[in-house]
């Protein structure tokens, strides 16, 4: 099993981070899943959140992404749409510009 360490990213890692962002977008299966890395990242994130006195962690998951949904639910995440009916919306830049330009 590969050894790994979780630490805050320095600026020099930006091109690697961008590559991983694009991999996520293309759904490439990583050779590094199943080692508990995702869990450890979530643990570190929760520790940072508690240190900053945050009371919850919010995020979006694609409805077809069953492995991720199960991963989060197993760790105690609430599905806000089925539990309370919350739906995420977005307003893109072209509409922000339109609004800002109106009297």
């Amino acid at each position: 099993m590969a050894k790994f360490v979780i630490c805050p990213a320095p600026a020099t890692h930006c091109s690697d981070i961008l590559r991983l962002i694009k991999e996520l977008d293309l759904f490439i299966m990583s050779d590094y899943r199943g080692f508990g890395i995702g869990s450890q990242i979530l643990k570190n994130l929760s520790q940072v959140a508690m240190k900053c006195r945050c009371s919850s962690v919010h995020f979006l998951v694609a409805e077809w992404n069953e492995p991720s949904i199960n991963f989060y639910k197993r760790r105690g995440a609430s599905h806000l749409y089925s539990k309370e009916g919350w739906r995420p919306f977005k307003i893109d830049k072209e509409y922000l510009l339109k609004m800002a330009g109106e009297e």
Binding site: S46, L60, A77, S78, E84, K90, I91, L96, M99
Partner: protein, 171 residues
């Protein structure tokens, strides 16, 4: 129709903002989830590293009326977030106008002001969440150009509550 001004909230507005937060939570039928105090709002919004920004909508006195503290009838609370796909975003956490002042475009004015601030700060999206039974709100946002991300792209909101977070953190 009342004349209304939208301005940046000041620390002294926190008491009124908290009242409106509670009114909004009651409207959303989720009153039991409001745990925040006025002290926390002051510290988190007006301390060294603010966690949020807030606009308030206040009634202006009519000509001839005595000048005094203006009544706050609505608010919009927002903060900056980051999209790994689009970069800087603004998240509109709350927007609320007291029922007796609705229908006058105050909500739209607040959102437009948030849009202006967002663009000034280099943001490319405004994000928010809305309850699926709140048709009035959904119609307002859609009229302003919003897309329902659940409907359009299948995104669902999830949350780790405090207890789950503690367990994850190993505390």
């Amino acid at each position: 129709m009342a004349s209304v001004r939208i301005r940046q909230a000041e620390e002294g507005d926190c008491g009124n903002i908290l009242k409106l937060i509670r009114e909004l939570a009651e409207y959303e039928k989720l009153s039991d989830q409001v745990k925040i105090s006025e002290e926390a709002l002051r510290a988190d919004g007006f301390g060294e590293n603010p966690f949020y920004c807030c606009l308030v909508a206040e009634l202006l006195p009519a000509p001839g009326e005595p000048q005094g503290p203006c009544v706050v009838v609505g608010y919009g609370l927002y903060y900056f977030i980051y999209s790994t796909w689009k970069g800087r975003n603004v998240y509109l956490e709350d927007i609320y106008v007291k029922p007796e002042y609705r229908g006058q475009g105050i909500g739209s004015k607040i959102i437009k002001k948030v849009a202006e601030v967002a663009l000034e700060r280099g943001c490319s999206q405004l994000r928010l969440t809305v309850l699926d039974w709140n048709k009035g709100a959904m119609d307002l946002y859609k009229a302003l150009g919003a897309r329902d991300l659940t409907e359009a792209e299948g995104w669902h909101s999830f949350r780790f509550e405090e207890e789950a977070m503690r367990e994850l953190a190993g505390k």
